[in-house]
Every structure is written in C-alpha cells, then in structure tokens.
Symmetry: C2
Subunit: 755 residues, 2 copies
Amino acid sequence: MNRIIERKITFDEKANGVCETLFHNANGYIGVRNCLEEGAPDTWDTMRGTYINGFYDVIPMKQAEALCGLVEEKETMLNIVDIQTIMLNVDGVPFDMEKGTVLKNTRILDMDAGTTTRVTRLRMTDGKETEITVKRMASFGQLNLFLMEYSVCACNYSGDIEITSCHIADVRNYTNPNDPRLAAESLKNLSVQETLEDKEQSFITCKTQNSGLSVCTAVAHELSQEAESELVKSGEGSYEYVLSKTLEQGEVFTVTKYCIFADSIRNTGVLRTARNDLDTVVNNGKDYYYEAQKRYLETFWNHSEVVICGDDAVHLAMSYNLYQLLQSSGKDGRCNVAAKGLSGEGYEGHYFWDTEMFILPFFTLTNPQVAKALLSYRYDILPAARENAKILGHKKGALFPWRTINGKECSGYFPSGTAQYHINGDIAYAVISYYLTTGDLDFIRKKGFEILLETSRVWMDLGNYCKKGFVLNDVTGPDEYTCMVNNNYYTNCSAKYGLHWTTKIYRILKENGGVEEINARLSVGDDELQTMEKAADAMFLPYDETLGINPQDDSFLEKPIWDLAGTPKEHFPLLLHYHPLTLYRYQVCKQADTILAYFLFEKEQSRDVMQRSYEYYEKITTHDSSLSTCVFSIVASRLGMQKKGIDYLGDSTKLDLENTHENTKDGIHTANMGGCYMAVVNGFAGLRVTQEGLSLHPFLPEKWESYSFRICFHDRLLKILVEKEQVTLVLVDGEQISINVYGQNVLLTKEQKRQ
Amino acid sequence: MNRIIERKITFDEKANGVCETLFHNANGYIGVRNCLEEGAPDTWDTMRGTYINGFYDVIPMKQAEALCGLVEEKETMLNIVDIQTIMLNVDGVPFDMEKGTVLKNTRILDMDAGTTTRVTRLRMTDGKETEITVKRMASFGQLNLFLMEYSVCACNYSGDIEITSCHIADVRNYTNPNDPRLAAESLKNLSVQETLEDKEQSFITCKTQNSGLSVCTAVAHELSQEAESELVKSGEGSYEYVLSKTLEQGEVFTVTKYCIFADSIRNTGVLRTARNDLDTVVNNGKDYYYEAQKRYLETFWNHSEVVICGDDAVHLAMSYNLYQLLQSSGKDGRCNVAAKGLSGEGYEGHYFWDTEMFILPFFTLTNPQVAKALLSYRYDILPAARENAKILGHKKGALFPWRTINGKECSGYFPSGTAQYHINGDIAYAVISYYLTTGDLDFIRKKGFEILLETSRVWMDLGNYCKKGFVLNDVTGPDEYTCMVNNNYYTNCSAKYGLHWTTKIYRILKENGGVEEINARLSVGDDELQTMEKAADAMFLPYDETLGINPQDDSFLEKPIWDLAGTPKEHFPLLLHYHPLTLYRYQVCKQADTILAYFLFEKEQSRDVMQRSYEYYEKITTHDSSLSTCVFSIVASRLGMQKKGIDYLGDSTKLDLENTHENTKDGIHTANMGGCYMAVVNGFAGLRVTQEGLSLHPFLPEKWESYSFRICFHDRLLKILVEKEQVTLVLVDGEQISINVYGQNVLLTKEQKRQ
C-alpha cells in the first residue's frame, strides 16, 4: 500500500507554516521543522525550529498572586542550533521565491524510506530556471544524525553558483503572546560556550541559561563534484560553509550535510561525542543510513501497519499518523512524547497525559519496547512526582505533574493543571495495560508496581469517606470546562481501577516472587493494601436516578446547559472567548470525560446507562480539544452505533494533513493521531485487552472494503483482517494463543483462522 | 475620657516599622507614615510613604497562563513625593539616633487635637544633648494640607544648627517579594513633569507612567525666629530648604512646614491649585488649622464616641480604632477605604468588601455623610462593574470588582478574587442599611436603586433553577480556604436579601415617586422585578438534616476536618504554608462565613440551627483573617453566649496597637477596627436596624463598669449608656422616636428614658 505523500505547496505564509510542521523530520530524539532552507520572507510568521526531546531550559513563570505552593518557573523545550539553513546564489542573484516565478514547489514524505524531499523550480527574474531538490532524514538508526542532501540543477543555463550552508547558534524560541497554548515571551536561553573548526567541519557547543544543560552540534559536508569551498565564522558562534562552482546547463550539483547532535543529558563530553559520531557517520556515508532507515521502517510497518482498503485518503492519513507517532516518541527512556511531538513549540514541548491515554496504546500493542521506554521515563520522574505530592500537602505517594519535561510541574494555572489528578490514574492505567498486553512481570517488579503504589497512595490521601462512600474532592477531570469539582466520574473510576490493580499486582508478585524486596524498598505491606482495596470497593461513582446517567461530577447536572446552538461559530473554541469561571458554570464539555471512562472502565456501568449518558454528553460537548471525537467514536462503536462510530472518526485522521484545527503550524496533534488509531482498533475492531486476554468485536465501516492491522500480544505477532463477510486472524509469529472473537474463544495457531 | 496615646519607641527596626504605621497622619485624602524625619538606618526595612487616596498607577500583572478574561494589569496605590524628610546638623554633626545615646524617644497621638508628636532627645557622641519635637497633622479642615512643626532645642550647649527640609520626587513603592499581600516588584512609576520655585516655596508636579494622573506638591516654610535660609535644587526634581541658625543653650527653634497636595483626579490645573491653596494656608497660619482640627474632632466624637469604663486600655484602643477609621475613609465621593487605609502599602491600596461589611456600619450609624460618600464611590464605578460583569459572561448587570482603586478588577487569582460574588451582595446590603438608618430616599432614587438593580441582575444571570431551588454555582464565599463552591450559604443569603430588597425598594419608589424616570433610565419594569422576587423566594440555602446545621456550601460537610490541633503553630496563617488546593479539600475556615450570615441575615434560621452551626464552625475556624473574631463575637452575643462574645472580642481592639498579627508595619487593619466597633454596638448592645426600626438588646461585659456610644438614626442623635443595673437612652438631638429595647417599644423623647 502507498505510504508516500506528495503535495504541492503554494508559496504563501499560511501554507508554509503548515508545511514546516507536516514535513518535519524527527526520530523521537531530534526534530527539525521543514523550513525553507533559504529562509522565509521577513514578514512571514515562521517557526524555524530544531529540537532535542527532553532538552529544555528553566524559565520564570511569575504568578499574578504568589500563593503558597504555586509553580513559579517552568521547563520549556529550547529551539537549538539551526543546521537547516542553506542559501543559494546563481550568478550573484539569490535563489528567492519572492523574486521569481515558482514553477514547481512540492514536498514528498516517503514513509518507507523515512525521508522528506523538497523540489522547487524557480524562474529567476533574469529568466534562469534553477531547480533545487532537498532530501532530509532524521535517522532512526543513528538517533543523533540529521542528514540533508541539497541538489542544485541549472536547468536552462550555465553559470556560477554559490551555496552557503549555515550552522547558526544565534537562535530564539518562537513566541505568540496572543495564544495561551504558546510561549508569550521571546527566549534566547542558549549561549555559545565553545566553537571549533577542523577539516572544514564545524562544532558549536552551547549551554542553557538555567538548567545547566549543554549541547554540541557538529556539521560536515560531502560534495558530489569538486568545488571551491571554505568554512568561515560568521557572527557569534556561527559558521558558514561556502561552496562555489560553475554548472553547465542541466548539470546537478549535490552537497550532503551531516549534522550530529550530542547533549549533556545523554552524554558526558558533548564535544567529544559529537566529533566521534560525526567521524563515524561521514565514514559510513549516507547510503548506509538510508538503508538502515528503510530496514527500520520495514520492521515498524510489519508490526504496526493499519491497511484500509476502499478509502485511500484515510489509509494514507492513518499511515501518516502512525509514522508521526514513531517520529515523536522518545525511545531512550530519558524522555517522552510532547503534545506536539518534535514538530513545533506548541505547549512548549511539555509531556501530558496524552502520552499514556492516547499514544501509548499504539505502542503497547505494536512496539512494546517503546511503550516500556516511555513508562520508564515516568518511573524516573517519580522523585519529582513525590515532591509534587508533598507540595500539594500529601503525606505519602507521588502526584505526576500535569505538564512537564524533566519531572517538575510546569502548569501555571493549577485549576486546569495540577488539579487534574487523573494523570496519576492515566499512568497507572498505562502500566497495567502494558502488563496485560506483554506479561512483562520483570518491568512490573522493577518499576511498574512502584508507580502503581505511589499513585494509589495519593488517591488514599486525597480521598476520604463520607456518607456517599469514598470520595475525591476538588479535582479536575479531563474536561477543562469544569474545574475543581467533587467526584469527577472519570477520576473516581480511574482511581478505583488503580487501587484495585495495585492490590491485584501485589498478589501476583506474592505468587511470583520478589515481594519481600518490594516490601522492604517501598515500606508496603498487606495492611496498606487492604485499605486500598477497601477504598476501591467503596469508591463513589456519581449516578443520577432521574436521568439514569452518570453526572460528570457531583453538581454537574445542577448547572444550566450552555446554549451551543446560540453560540456564534467564531466563538469556538470556547476557551479562547469565555472566562473560565463562565465556562465552569454551565453544562458544556471541552472533550470526552465521562465518555472516556466508558471506554476504559466499561464494566462499571450497564449498557443502558452508558447509552443514555452518551446521548446526553453528545449534546453538550464541543470537541474543542482534539482528544475528544476519537473517544466518542470508540464508545459509539462499543454501543453498537456503527454509523456514529464512523462519523465521529470522520476527518479526524486528516486533522493535521488538512489543518482542520487551523493550528497545525504550531505542531502536529499527536494525541489525536493515537486516538484515530484507537478509533479503528479499539472502536471498529472492538479490541480489548483485559485480565481474561485479548478480545475482538469487529465491524467494517460501510464505505471501506476492508481493513487490517497488526499487533503484538504476549510475544506473538498477529494480523487481524476485517472484510465484508469475514474476519481473518493470522498468527504471523509466535506460539498458539486463544483469542475471544465476538464472545467466542478461538484458538489461533500458525494456520489461518477464520470467523 | 482620655484620647491621648503616648508611647516610648525603642530604637530598633521592628518597633520603627510599627510606629510608622501606628502614628501615621491621614484624613481620608492624604496619608503620611510616621517615619523618622532624618531617615532610618540604611539596613532597616522601612516604608517611607506618602499617599493620596485613589491616586494610582496601572502596572502589568502577567498571568502564568493567559486564559481568556483574566486580569492582566492592576491599579496600585503610588507612594508619592516625600515631604516628611527633615535633617538636622548640630555643629556639623548629623542628628543620628544610631550614633548617639537616645535619652528619650516618644510618639504622642492626640485624638482630640488630631495631631501626632515625636519627641526625641539624643546625647550626641560629643556630649551635646539635642531634643527635637515634631508635630504633624493631616488636616480634616483642609484635606490637602499636611503640616509639620519641627522644633529643635539645644539642651545643654550653644551651637550652630543646620536644618535641611526636603521635598523629594525620587521615590519608589515598597516591595516584599515574599509576601503575596504586598507588591513584589519595585515600582518607580512617578516621573517629574515640572518644577517651580518661588519665594522659597517649591512646587513639584509629577505624572504617573500609565494611568495619566498627575499630582503637584507644594511646600512652604515658616520660622519661629529669623535664620539664614536657602532653597536649592537637589537631584532630579527635588528641593532642599536649608536653614542655618546659632542656638543658645536652652533655646528652641521651630520651622513649620506647610505641604499642599493637588491631584488631577480632583483638580484641573494641579500646579495652579497647589499655588492657590499654599497661599491660603500660609496666610491663615497653622493655628487656624489646629483650631479647625479640634472643632472637627469635637463633632466627630460627639457623634461617634464609644466610652468604655472599667477598662482604660480597651477604651483607648477603641477610640484609636474609630479615629483610624476616620483617618482612612475617603470623604469626597471619589475614593473609598483601602484595606490598610492610608497607613501603608499592604494590599496595594485596594478597596475590598471590608468597606461595606466592616467599616461602613460605623459611618452609617455615626456619620451618614461619609457613608453616603463611600457608597457614591461605588455608584461611580458602576460602569467598570458592568464591564466586569460582561467579562464574566453576564448578559446584564454589574459585578463589583473584588479589589480595585478606580473600578477595574485587580485580583490576579480569580478563584479567591473575582469569584467572590458576595461583594455584590455586600454593597447592596450597605445601601439598604444606609437607607434603613437614614431614610435617605433621595440617595436611593439617584444612586442606591441602580446599585441594587444592577447587582441583582447579576444574581439572576449567575443563578439557575434546579431541583434544589434557585442555586448559585461556582462562587467563593468570604472564607478563602474553600473556593469556587456551589451554594455558599453566605452568598446565597446575601443574594436573597439583595433580590428581595431590590423589589421592596422598587415598590417604595413606586409609592413615593420617581419610578417612571428609573424605569426609563434603567430599562426596568414589573416583569423583571417579579423574576427577582421569585428567585429570592426560591433561593436554596444549604441545610444538613443530620447535623442540623447550615453547611458552608453544598459539599463542605463531605470533606475531612483539618487537624488544627496537630498543625504546628508556625504553620499559621495556613495560607502562607499550604497550597490552596490542599486547603480547599478540608473543612477549615480562614474566617467567619456562615457565621457572618447569621449576623446579617439572622431571620433565615432558627436559634437552634444557629447555635449548632456556631459550635461546629468554631472548631474549624483559624481566624487567619482579621475579619473573623469580631463576627464570632457578635453572633455569640446574639446567641446569648456573653462570655464568648467578650472573649472573641478579646484583644482584637488592640490588634494594631499591640501588633498581634505581626504585620502592622505594612499598615493598619481597618476592617478589624470596624469589626471591634460592631462587636460592641451590634454584639454587646445588640443593636439592629431593620425595616421595623432600631432595636437594642444590650448586656454589659462583666469586667466593664459601663459603656456608652452615640449614633445617628433618622436625623436623631442618640446616646446609649449601658450600666450594670440599667440601660439609659438619651435623645441628644432630634425629634421623638420609638426604639425597641429587649423586645419592648420605648418612645424616646427629649426627656431621658431609662429601662
């Protein structure tokens, strides 16, 4: 199936911003936006960014009123040294799309090759036609390698060209003071510490202002033909590598730029590491890495492809989304997945619950090693989460930060930040899912149980018994249009699940060994776990007798319903047009909240209650968050409303490709991408992983001919193919296994199973 | 009775800070802290302040997350030009308390003369003893006049003295980054626009950076004996008036400093006004103003004295408090009463509900003209309050700002700021009280009804019907340790009262004329008022059947009780040691909330419910706010718990005089001062003013011999004397009137009435 996206890019500001994001190259470690090599016109809003996952500085975040415990500084992902700038002169005239006629301007993303390509053909004012072709790759084989292949063709003339390839340390972060989702103040938090040039290779070591981190970037070039060349210093800690060459008509000249990144989070001696790695990659040569890239992606697709027949656009969009998840996710256990991946500065590179609830499910099912690395990151920030719990007044336990890079809470407005305690439940849920899908008890023993225990300890300290049962007060659920409420249905379900599983896992560990070490290390024992079990059993879940639905929280149904029909279109998303206190007073939801609980904790309610609630919340949800429609789709599918399931997925797969939220320029929406995957796999195919094992309940959307996907389950590789008349399960690899399909157990052996 | 406070001031940093506040001179228009004329030692924390009520600049107040509608700038009271600095040299040696032996250092506040006096006698290192006496006055007769009389006595020597009297424009506001109740960043928002010297008089006109205001200060001197004098410019827009004189042993030399203030809020042409007024006051001479001051205060005490026999300290403290209320309150309708009056920069000179709930009751009962001026200020900021209501999403009405100077909302953290909608009810309550006490229907017609209507309109838009009745969701009551709750008992009572009275007053206006004009001007009519009446009748007031008490809000009783006994002493006030979200989750109150409702809206509940609630809230209230114990005292008295009533008043009267909250250096606690008055008048004497008239239910605290107070009621001046065996009511002035005493109506004529 086709996994190549080719697109004409009109030469305008808006298209350029979207293109920078859509065609960015990343590998979970580095990310480089697909900016015009020669630079965008001065007046354009452009985000010229290069990022390292987890590389940040700490900046002040003053509170308007400095109440006790409020966060007063935050981590922010830094835009680091610019290595993508390459300028071209033809007979002294700059290659400038503003000053010529653009004959062609395309971008190609090849998701099998793992590269992007720009082709721009320009008729310059003097009539000369020049075509540049730029291939870019963020290597999956060598995570700190970014490769550019810049080719110039003198199409209809012979002449002198001059190529200036830059390595620039004078960079800033992007700012937009009018959008709370972006940084408001210009940041220049990177300063040059050391520069070095050697054999026309340049090295720049920069350090951050406050976080004590440093990063070295190294650049080397390789030429297709001989040319005059010179490496010159330009400005503070920047280099220009200048090439001069006479081209015959039709001749193509190519310069390959090897860019190596070495940061002090992962390396001691960043300059030494950069020099060594640059030597290695130059010696190996680009083809070595192109090949490695292909092999890596072959394995990736073999484990995770989703093939949709009958709707090529959706198929391609789905592939794009999965590819972006791969590009975005940290794989080294030292970092996570930012809300915008490594594609832009929206949400400042912070990690949210998006990872565990929307992105991890894909990796847990297809690439458990990545899932494990992401969960290990959470394990590593437990000390900071314990500190956070203390700040919030908890005597024990860990409260994960609502948004963070290195573990510290970075949310400035706690009512819709830190108060979202459900992140504790989300992370616990992900640990349990990982365990249920992989059976990796070793991870549970070493890291997973500690996460479960520490998050459960906060539930115990947060909650209290009253006549309703065990209650959780003053928390914020996923829906940020109602904050600081009592007994948010989702949060209480999530806490209940986490508490139950903490005790279950403890019993499993008892049976399988290792519990003595855990008892000693974590000062835990049967008594504490019994209190957890008791609280889980007594957990209050709000239910309204009159409507027969679950209220989102204790008082939700006492508020008036927001007049969505009477709200002007231009007032959406509501958060940009209404004071939070106004929103809090109405029944109006930014996103799936109780509905998400129905997907994750479907056994808590009868089908009828879920059905009635679904219809209720559907009418009052704006889907102002991109994490919403996919959940409505999954639960619609669960409730047998296939058409709704399909409609809610709708164009979500194309959210970024078609820029439907109008902010793709700030970065991709990774959670939505994961959500689209879930809408197909958990929604249409009805896949669930529980203690009882793997189950499926597939249906085929009307307009599709078929769809298939591959997953890993307890060391097996399975393929599920859903066609009009039949569902085919294939055990691609591994030992036989029993799967529940439409409620029937089916033993899957190496022979093909049909149902 | 004695109304003179004389106090030795030890020469140390802490005592100095408290002294600066306690002995400040103010008249509701200007306020000057009682700083050492010669300046405090460099290392001391000193707040060298001069303020004009309502004179402010606008400064940025960045939000950590810029959500829609959040306040991003605030008004802050500016420290203006320093006129109190006077330095002394004796034979070339500076008069410096650090470098000599302090033989005497006292401050005297004479509350009949309306002046403060400093006497400092210093033995300098060369053995010379010099005594300075500084008398200061902020004139009540001429509000923009501040007078200083600086006398030097050469006690045991003859020698040359040099006096330098300063007029300094280079000033900043005080800052303390560690206390949220003070400004965190140093402000220099005043710049010199124009200076002028004329006949040894100096004039400095300054303008603010952002608010567009300007102020001219004018200074003239008068000498007791001839001396050499020179006016010199010193630094940017500052003047020094230098006097040289040889003193014989025992000789006293006095320089009188006339300081005039003219601001652009009240004057067009501030320099011209300042020149004219300076001429006038110099011509009239100081004695003219001393006399006027005495007469003014004679009238004041005649209308408002509270005389306590049997406890001189409490008597003096009570007098001090009433005097401070007079000093603090704006009287020109253009300003109000800052939380710290004009005595310091705590809370940045902002006006809160403190005015209406704690300070106005005193003026309404004793000096209705001041009450009217303060309420007129609220009327004048209605346009800003309407704007604020719009920001909060209300279609109609006005929402008064939680804290402000010129009408704009200045609270940076809305959950315990703007969300305190009860301020609307508080202001409405004060309007109604003013009407009930004075019968001033003219004010109601012109201003009062509009306040009632506009605040009621917000209640209607804020609230909604649900099965409980008419409910008010997501508001914060007076107790800031629980924020954004549903159906705060106090708020709902307050809204109910406001709605009821809006309709009552409307009927009264109908009967008394003027309603047609109001209908047209405010687009109001019977229909709208009927909906208000209906909502008031349906207003939900939370009540717990099991405990038989009123919960502070819908979910208050479902939270665990804070372990006050187990909280370390140094963790109070809790707000400085616990994250707000921690506090919100517990039953713990910063201050009287439901209990305040019992005082103001005592007819809503039976005595039994109030009694049980009282006992309940008593156990969980920290009184971290200075607005709390006085309310507990009043309600204890109401419930017949006389001992508790007395105990809760306790040392509250001395809060500032004895610096019991350890922050008097930042300014006086005006609301507490008003609260102490109420504890006696409304508490011990049981005074109430309702539609039925004036009623009393007095008791005498055991340790007192008697107490008396004077009030104005419907143009009568009354004196109430409570002694062991009897209560004496005197109609000092005005026509006969019926008063209810202990439930019996008593007709009070010019003859003395006994009961």
